[in-house]
Symmetry: C2
Subunit: 374 residues, 2 copies
């Protein structure tokens, strides 16, 4: 299912191919977030044109709205949202711990109240798997306990141990329920907060259970950037080399370059989409905010040479105008550019790895990012 | 510039071609409203795919935001918003009377305060023309005084007379300023409220000044539907037969069918776009509201057989889900369908006129509209 095709000799960066029944994914890959069965403002065709190879759906959100009984009528999320490419769904755990009102955490699972209507639900490891199977996800994530930062060693260790036991239950449920011909894969999630010994313990435990891929959860939860990178640096080599390594919920363009150099293969983050809707646009010369008055009369595209639909057709002045007037098209054109920027950055990294020139790419990336856009 | 190509023998419906430097427009035509240099939520390519031949821009809005000095950098609205087709702009009069705080109406023009920042402005007939020339509009509208409903005869007559004098000044300014090779055209506006004698007086006066086309303004301003149609029925034959006749700001699908049968050639209205954003979708079996719970599990498209992008790719259940979750894609997919519905209705009317079967078309239209969508 996963094959490493190139390895960088001057870093731990690697390029690979992850195969799903909905197509091949070239790694390292960035997965745009499509929380509610839509990457906000974009059509499926636009996502493809923006270079998206795989998108992420949120189990928590989709379970509450529209609910599994609706998506089942469409035999899963792909047909419901008309997306033919691969889909990864998270387990819902992270959202329950961050969005919902958590009412009770037990060995059995998590009791929570919906952030929409206050209704009560119980999510168990088994149920998280069942929902994701019903969504038709190509990559299914185990239910985990994601803890806040900072937390003490004892609580973090308890969370790692619970995550391990839940991982075992998820694997068992997955093996029992999944149709072998469906091609669906299950990924485990490594927790452990900012404690290296717990990260190692969690990585070992997950590797022992055996999954098709391994994610690092619980990063980018408020800790300083250096600690996030230190944890990733420490944990990534502890994960099985033959499997894809996914750093969840990260990050900025610089984070992605660093994490790829440390051996990460997969990423998801709301940054390009959410920031697009807040007027922040990524460029190779660093981010700009389109509402800045210096763009008022600017006839240039966001980034000269960018091949995205937005840059090929519209100026900064027009995008600023749309944004200032709160026009719906603003959010869409900005999102197109940012998703394209992210997927293009990953493509450049893949090429650099294949040419065994990752360090040169990385230096050039930083040199440009630290220049000011003109 | 305008040529009638077919005339119905069982109604006053007619089909024509209006030529502009940005392309030919087949009439009867519906013009989607692109208030601020964007038909809300749609890209220019989507507009073309939805069948839009020409769009409308609002002078009042564009003058305030982003302002002429920005649009001038792009040599007009076409390049600013990347729309290659024809554009008609209104004069700004209607918006000043409805949106802005009107501070003073004099022979000279209209003093108003911006609804955005309260800044004071004076719009004269000459300035209305200059702004529209700067916007690069293919069809420029005269400044008129649009009055409220109901109003008395005296005030309405005063408004007609002022509109006539302003029409003369607009024509003079247009002839002085417009580049003859630009192909821009000027349309006059007939006022007269709900008084036939004033409508006739206004139509005669406008015809005498001489324009490339004639609009009926001041309809659909709160009067009962029968009065609107009665006024249009009375006024349309008073306008020069060889010129395009445009009923401004109207209307529902039924209104369009009625007005085409009375001889109208052009329409604009926010109904398909605004209602799309409110969840109302037009179908040949009448409108539906997508948030209705009966669509929750509905795997059918909005209208079976509809060839719009939305109907070809998405179900009512998905559209309902997006709408209930307030997803940006909801507004866009709904708008695509409604614009397509309107342009398609016009296309069917053109074909019916060419086949001299307008009355048969009209009867079939009503029979279907009054059936319930299944």
């Amino acid at each position: 299912m996963f094959k490493v095709v190139s390895k960088s000799t001057d870093s731990r960066a690697r390029a690979g191919v992850l195969t799903t029944v909905h197509g091949e994914i070239k790694t390292p890959v960035f997965m745009p977030v499509g929380t509610l069965g839509t990457v906000k403002s974009l059509s499926p065709e636009e996502l493809v044109k923006c270079g998206a190879q795989i998108i992420l759906g949120n189990t928590y959100h989709l379970y509450l709205r529209p609910g599994c009984e609706v998506i089942e009528r469409f035999s899963g999320l792909h047909r419901f949202m008309n997306w033919d490419g691969p889909i990864l769904t998270d387990s819902g755990g992270f959202q329950i711990f961050s969005l919902a009102k958590l009412t009770k955490l037990t060995e059995e699972g998590v009791e929570f109240q919906s952030h929409i209507d206050g209704s009560k639900h119980l999510l168990t490891p088994e149920k998280a798997i069942e929902i994701q199977i019903c969504l038709g996800s190509d990559i299914i994530m185990c239910l985990d306990q994601c803890i806040k930062y900072p937390t003490n060693l004892k609580d973090t260790k308890d969370a790692v141990e619970l995550t391990t036991r839940w991982g075992e239950r998820c694997k068992k449920e997955f093996d029992k329920c999944v149709n072998l011909t469906s091609g669906q894969a299950l990924f485990g999630i490594v927790q452990g907060g900012m404690f290296k010994e717990l990260r190692e313990m969690s990585a070992d435990a997950m590797a022992k259970i055996g999954f098709e891929g391994f994610a690092i959860g619980g990063l980018s939860v408020g800790e300083p950037k250096e600690i996030m990178l230190e944890m990733a640096d420490f944990t990534l080599p502890k994960l099985p080399e033959s499997k894809p390594k996914y750093v969840m919920g990260v990050g900025t363009p610089k984070d992605l370059v660093e994490l790829v150099s440390l051996g990460a293969d997969m990423f998801d983050c709301v940054l390009p989409t959410r920031n697009a809707r807040n007027g922040q646009l990524f460029t190779k010369y660093g981010p700009i905010n389109i509402c800045n008055s210096r763009f008022k009369h600017d006839t240039d595209p966001i980034e000269s040479g960018c091949t995205c639909y937005t840059c090929k057709n519209f100026s900064r002045a027009y995008l600023r105008h749309l944004y200032m007037a709160k026009e719906l098209l603003a959010y869409r054109l900005n999102t197109v550019h940012n998703i394209h920027y992210y997927t293009n950055l990953m493509k450049h990294m893949r090429n650099a790895i294949k040419n065994d020139a990752f360090e040169a790419f990385r230096k050039d990336f930083y040199r440009k990012q630290d220049r000011r856009l003109t």
